[in-house]
Amino acid sequence: MTEAHSWDVPDAILKGGQSGWPAILSNLKSVLETGKPLVLAQMGPPPGMAEAVKQAVAEKPWLR
């Protein structure tokens, strides 16, 4: 599975995807192949991501 973005995403926001997607896709593969997810606690967004999202939405109304 490959995913991509159509706009120039700031690093602070990309870090969310970079830490989140590997865990989610690893979990998906485990569920499909073994029927059981990995035992993962909730992962929060990385530092600075929430602020970067707010700023991006303020600067680019089409992201709403």
């Binding site: 970079q18 590997p22 865990a23 896709l25 690893s26 979990n27 593969k29 485990s30 192949e33 073994t34 059981k36 990995l38 035992v39 993962l40 606690a41 909730q42 992962m43």
Partner: protein, 154 residues
């Protein structure tokens, strides 16, 4: 121009010791690496070779760092494709960690990070080549450790 780099992260339901064994045991490597295996004693400074089933050398280099069951760094050059050999040496770092979000260390899964980077700006073709291979190899390792079987045979 920056040096080309490939990073892959996966989480596997296993232990650091079992994952280290899967990354370094020749018989296990052959199962998930499409018949290729490694010849190495996994000590710092030792030669490292990837071999095809027919005995030809696929890739060669040496072990730069080896800290079982946590960290392995390989100095790595392709040997069988002239255009990839010309891309020069790369450095592959394999890091094994307890998944960070465990509230205690009673872990049932580990995080494996593969960072494969060129040593010069000419390394692009080699990093592009390994970028196609690592996801299949990592998928196979995860399947092998979690189910006992691999996803891709070849």
């Amino acid at each position: 121009m920056s040096k080309p780099k490939f990073v892959y992260v996966t989480y596997i339901r296993t232990t650091p010791e079992k994952l280290w064994s899967a990354l370094t045991d020749p018989q296990t490597i052959r199962k998930y690496w499409f018949g290729i295996t490694a010849e190495c004693d996994w000590k710092p400074g030792s030669p490292w070779n990837l071999k095809f089933e027919d005995g030809r050398t696929a890739d060669a280099g040496e072990i730069l760092e080896s800290v079982p069951p946590k960290r392995l760094v390989i100095h790595w050059q392709n040997q069988f494709k002239p255009e990839l050999k010309a891309a020069g040496y790369t450095r592959c770092t394999m890091e094994i960690e307890i998944a960070e979000y465990y509230p205690n260390h009673d872990a049932k899964a580990v995080k494996l990070t593969i960072t494969h980077e060129a040593e010069t700006e000419l390394g692009g073709p080699m990093i592009e080549a390994v970028s196609g291979g690592w996801p299949k190899i990592m998928s196979n390792i995860k399947s092998l450790l979690e189910t006992g079987d691999v996803t891709f045979q070849k």
